[in-house]
């Protein structure tokens, strides 16, 4: 599971043009640190992971799809939900997988941690 969490985090933070630096998991809570790719600054984060392994794999693939196809602007998906579903189906996803994965990704919230305190969040939206 740890590998899948790592893979997901790498692809999720790829959306934000950041690289996963450190990550540790304790009681399903993930604590970690990312480095921004455009400067030397970093950001701590935490995430309470309730996602099943199979859903995590699909979320990972969806993040990669969004990044590879340049469909993100900051944290906003630049096409409509129905258009994204259509494109995923054209790329070989089943419609239900596409729908579920989009809903799963939209429901995720990874908290930014500043000086040990949770402040803002990483999430994506349409």
């Amino acid at each position: 599971m740890e590998t899948h969490i790592n893979n997901f985090l790498k692809s999720f933070f790829g959306i934000f043009d950041a690289t996963l630096d450190k990550c540790r998991i304790h009681d399903n809570i993930v604590f970690g640190n990312i480095r921004w790719n455009d400067d030397h600054e970093s950001q701590d984060f935490s995430w309470k992971n309730n996602v099943e392994k199979s859903d995590l794999i699909k979320s990972t693939l969806l993040c990669e799809y969004l990044t590879d196809n340049k469909l993100m602007h900051m944290d906003k998906i630049m096409i409509s939900k129905s258009e994204l579903e259509k494109r995923l189906v054209e790329s070989g996803w089943s419609f239900s997988d596409a729908q579920d994965s989009i809903d799963d990704l939209l429901s995720l919230e990874l908290r930014m941690v500043d000086d040990g305190i949770e402040t803002d969040s990483f999430f994506v939206h349409f």
Binding site: F16, M112, T119, F126
Partner: protein, 137 residues
């Protein structure tokens, strides 16, 4: 429910007047005594009224470093900007070479609250959400 809103609007108006005055002061290299010093503690919206009455706006930064720190503080969920504060934040952002991306009507996501994000000043700032108050549309 109506009274706090009226109080908030009243506070925002005072913040606007004095805040713009402070901003003007910084543009002509004059620091009025009520401008927050570097590293001053952030004061949230619940304290905005007290700050306004003492002439202090929370939307201020005199360097890019202070600006980054400001964005970090404003990205806390309860730091809802008033319309006037948003205008001040936009002016400040442009002063440092960035611009604001408005997302006043986010759809299909965990957070459907209106917010702005800073573009052009690095990914660490771009990832932050500066939340807008209920009256800002």
């Amino acid at each position: 429910m109506g009274k706090p809103t009226q109080q908030r609007e009243h506070d925002a108006e005072i913040v606007a007047r004095l805040g713009n005055f402070a901003l003007y002061g910084s543009l002509i290299n004059w620091s009025p005594s009520f401008v927050l010093p570097a590293g001053a503690r952030f004061v949230g919206p619940s304290q905005a009224g007290r700050m306004a009455s003492s002439g202090v706006s929370r939307v201020q930064a005199n360097s890019l470093k202070e600006y980054k720190s400001l964005v970090q503080r404003l990205s806390k969920e309860d730091s809802e900007l008033t319309l006037v504060e948003l205008k001040m934040f936009q002016t400040l952002t442009e002063r440092f070479g960035g611009k604001l991306r408005y997302d006043l009507n986010p759809v299909h996501g965990r957070f459907l609250k209106p917010h702005v994000q800073v573009e052009g000043l690095g990914k660490s700032l771009e990832s932050r959400h500066v939340w807008l108050g209920p009256g800002v549309r």
